[in-house]
């Protein structure tokens, strides 16, 4: 058992070999590059769904604006004060830093968990693209409360799109990534154009004199759609904060910030937050209100911008699913002995394609985003404690690395214990990560206090 795990982790190390060394000074990137990266990454297919869901969950205008302003600010500060400082000090990816802290065995489990979560996310993106193509083919999409596929047409459509996306990802991931870079400014414009073009349908005058009134009564009117839970200021604030929890508090974006000249570059994440997670969410809210509050991204964009709009939703789903499939494939490559890259990507793609048939992942995207961050968050707490708190308390660091442990059992106990605690917390799913994070920090420090020098 130990031997086979050792073989797996050695193979995993080979896969990530290219970024094993800390980034050298000559490879550091400019702030403009970070601004562009964040702006591109956070204006994606998910934005068509999330902003629309806020409307369907009966969020009021005041709660939306305040919640998004504060929540996104907290997200930017999390990147700036938690993720970027560790990344710029170590110049390592989370993969290599976690390996030193938690041991290769736990690192392996983290990668597999990450891969599965990526597959589900990519599946939801395939479903978003399917809404655009389904519109052209006259295939009805599942309704808000559906869990299982509702028609043969939907299954056939998602399977077909998933297979095409998978084959394209197998054939040329890098070319598609370059195509995605070309797409992202246009997708942002599509959000703006779609919202502006649908304002007359909601009754907004050309001089905007009744815009606030329409926004309060016809868009974010505080009335939840049937079967949808009503969300308030706290929910929106926390959602905006934890939407990328795995990236900032969970430290995945160390991979990005290790190229930053200074930790202050974390502030560039504001370009992603306020263009994507503020403006684009508001625009998709306007669009869903204008199409009769139907959760149908394809229809929303088609009504807003015609053929180009529907194509935009399809492309957005594709360009978001593509890197997600790549990352899932990379993480899964460790458990597929001697499989070439194409075969692993194909496997990840097929798994994702099957998941995409189930509307629950797309229709419950807000909850899924919360669970995704929650599952990976304790790892961020463990790394934070080891990096900042251990030196203050004079606790010996990197024990797993120094003693060649396969598993840091204390880290594993903290990860598992935090998830169990979060599962039983008697508060809304959106709020659980914060007490969970504090618990994980305190628990990991307590377990290691005996190792004080």
């Amino acid at each position: 058992m130990n031997e086979s795990l050792s073989r797996l982790t050695t193979r995993m190390d080979h896969l990530y070999e290219f970024d094993r060394e800390p980034v050298s000074q000559g490879k550091l990137q400019t702030g403009a590059r970070f601004a562009g990266l964040f702006a591109g990454e956070h204006v994606a297919a998910t934005e068509f769904v999330i902003g629309a869901f806020f409307v369907l969950h009966g969020v009021s205008l005041r709660d939306l604006i305040l919640g998004l302003l504060i929540g996104n600010l907290l997200a930017v500060l999390s990147w700036t004060f938690i993720c970027a400082p560790i990344a710029t000090r170590t110049r390592l990816t989370l993969y290599w830093y976690l390996r030193r802290i938690a041991g290769p065995g736990l690192n392996f489990i983290y990668n597999i968990a990450n891969a599965l979560l990526y597959c589900i996310l990519a599946g939801a993106m395939i479903a978003v693209s399917a809404t655009a193509l389904g519109l052209a083919l006259g295939i009805s999409i599942p309704s808000l409360n559906d869990i299982f596929p509702t028609s043969f047409g939907w299954i056939a459509l998602t399977l077909a799109i998933g297979l095409v996306f998978t084959i394209l990802a197998v054939l040329g991931f890098e070319k598609l990534s370059r195509f995605a870079q070309v797409c992202s400014p246009w997708i942002f414009i599509l959000f703006i154009a779609g919202a502006v073009a649908l304002l007359p349908r909601l009754g907004v005058h050309a001089n905007f004199d009744n815009f606030v009134e329409i926004a309060k009564t016809k868009i974010w009117n505080g009335v939840a759609a049937g079967g949808q839970e009503k969300l308030h200021l706290g929910h929106i604030l926390f959602f905006a904060w934890f939407c990328n929890l795995a990236m900032h508090i969970g430290l995945s974006d160390m991979a990005l910030f290790r190229y930053a000249r200074s930790w202050i570059y974390g502030l560039y994440s504001a370009f992603g937050m306020y263009l994507g997670h503020f403006l684009a969410w508001i625009c998709s809210g306007i669009m869903v209100a204008a199409v009769g509050r139907e959760m149908h991204p394809g229809l929303m964009a088609f009504e807003a911008a015609g053929l180009a709009g529907a194509a935009g939703v399809f492309i957005a789903g594709w360009t978001t699913a593509n890197p997600t499939l790549y990352r899932a494939g990379l993480a899964l490559q460790v458990v597929t002995p001697n499989w070439p890259r194409w075969k692993v990507t194909l496997f990840a793609g097929l798994m994702t394609t099957i998941l995409s048939c189930f509307p629950v992942f797309f229709m419950k995207l807000l909850d899924y985003v919360a669970i995704y961050g929650l599952v990976l968050m304790p790892i961020g707490a463990i790394v934070f404690a080891e990096h900042w708190i251990f030196p203050l308390l004079k606790i010996d660091r990197y024990q797993a690395d120094k003693n060649k442990w396969m598993f840091n059992w204390k880290a594993a106990a903290v990860w598992g214990g935090t998830l169990v605690l979060c599962f039983f917390m008697p508060i809304h799913l959106f709020f659980r990560w914060l007490p969970g994070y504090i618990f994980a920090l305190a628990f990991y420090v307590l377990l290691n206090l005996l190792r004080r020098k």
Partner: protein, 62 residues
């Protein structure tokens, strides 16, 4: 030279994409016209931005 030309044309296409819904909103053009303009300028963006990106990549590679 080509690189600058493609960059300018792609930015112009994107600008037209952005302006066209406002022209419709302010009642200067019809809905059908706006959708056509948006579609054509979108095609323009994809063509010129791709050409610009490929010229830029060639320069970077060699």
């Amino acid at each position: 030279m080509k690189k600058i030309l493609f960059l300018l044309l792609s930015l112009l296409s994107l600008l037209i994409c952005l302006i066209s819904p406002f022209l419709y909103f302010f009642g200067r053009i019809e809905e059908g016209d706006y959708k056509w303009i948006f579609l054509l300028s979108s095609v323009g963006w994809f063509v010129f931005a791709t050409l610009w990106a490929s010229v830029r990549n060639k320069i970077q590679r060699f």
